[in-house]
Amino acid sequence: MKYAYYPGCSLHATAVEYDISARLVAKHLGLELWEIPEWNCCGASAAHNTDHLLALALPARNLAIAEREGLDVAVPCAACFNRLKASQVAVRGSEEMRNTIKEIIGMDYQGRVEVRAFLDVVVNGVGLEKIQGLVTRPLTGLKVAAYYGCLLVRPPGLTGFDDPEDPQTMDRLVEALGATPVPWAFKTECCSASLATSRTDIGLWPIFRILKHAKASGADCIAVACPLCFLNLDMRQGEAKRRFQESLDIPIFYFTELIGIALGYPPKELGLSKHFVNPLPLLESKEILRHPATRRETA
């Protein structure tokens, strides 16, 4: 299976471990990723706060390049996914918009190729059975709070691959990797997105609530599918801890990192050493990095 790959700005910067692990895992699972050459920023929320047309046109240029190749687009960042999808839907739904966008980007774009979240491509494209069959280091005993955030599953009319209130895609995935997904109420609560950067004073509260509830549900760690969610829950965890005077200490993983561990890759190769909250002690205490045959009975 071959996909056009739209990494987005974060995966070339603060989310470099997401990019590294996504590429490694894709290769292992037989997904060929063709990075859209000369891709540009999707505009994120700054564009749609400023101008509706700009917010549709910036993603459209990338999609037009993928369309020339006839490839569906796989998008690891939930926020980019949402913006790209919105652009595709707008162009598909109206000829007038199609012509306007064509004029603005100076390229033909029909909205033909699909835009898919990388999580969707992995779970529903590759399939859990195949993934399960490739696991060499099952994540036995690891309790995972699968955190979807907002833009991966909302609004459902746009994103359309999982339930907006109680999504299951990532839960089923971590289960296939041998881990235990925990039920919890904050799966799709917003982490405050870019407000955590522009108004950290306000953004820390939603971040704190998510971390706190994940812990209270008995999870050892949180799995995410978005660089912004990761940044907020990992990098700002120390600040949240200081502000609200509560020990949190809960490692955050990209779902691609969890797959990579289960497939047997060394943590360093997956970029795990780049996290603010060090996930290695947890993996060691659960003996996950050992070969299953040499593990003590922990489960």
Binding site: N49, C190, S194, I202
Partner: protein
């Protein structure tokens, strides 16, 4: 709020209200004030008017109050309200249209959020992509908090997560042209 006379308020603000409705695609009359949007809004704790109240202000013609609110800047566009609203009122789009209108009218209540958006788009227009480090430095200086997040910088550097050099695309002229064409249609002022 002072006591005000409703029909003249509505008459004064009619054109503005219709413009906000057209830009957002939201007909504010659709909202029947059930409050479901606000019960689930993750940012309501920091808002001066909850989302339901913003719509109520518009329904009554108090567009200026809505434009001056903190709410429209604090909305994180998380889509919770829109997903749950029984009347499918697209509140995030409405917040967006109100922000744009507030920007145009010079009524920006939350300067930080506005500055951040402008710094972000400035980076995209220059390089075709966001240069996170340049963005953060520019935002922190312009918002008068030069040492914000300075404690996080060393680890970000060491792990190769931020770089002093922007990653620019060769074809950055194509992206600049997108901004220009949107501007020539009367949008994207920043």
């Amino acid at each position: 709020m002072e006591p005000r006379e409703l029909s003249s308020i509505m008459a004064q603000n009619w054109d503005l209200l219709k413009r906000v409705e057209r830009r957002s695609g939201v007909d504010v009359k659709n909202c029947y004030q059930c409050g479901k949007c606000s019960a689930g809004c993750p940012m309501a704790f920091a808002m001066d008017y909850v989302p339901r109240q913003i719509i109520r202000l518009l329904q009554l013609g108090f567009v200026d109050e809505a434009l001056r609110s903190r709410t429209i800047w604090i909305c994180a566009h998380c889509q919770t309200c829109y997903t749950r609203c029984p009347k499918e009122v697209d509140l995030p789009r409405l917040m967006e249209a109100l922000r744009q209108e507030a920007g145009r009218a010079g009524l920006v209540t939350d300067k930080k959020v506005h500055l951040f958006d402008r710094a972000f788009l400035g980076s995209v227009e220059r390089y075709g992509r966001v240069h996170e480090m340049g963005l953060i430095v520019q935002f922190n200086l312009q918002s008068g908090q030069p040492f914000k997040d300075a404690g996080l910088a060393p680890a970000l550097f060491l792990n190769g997560k931020i770089s002093p050099f922007p990653s620019r695309i060769k074809d950055s002229a194509a992206v600049k042209a997108i901004f220009q064409r949107v501007r020539s249609r009367g949008g994207a002022e920043h």
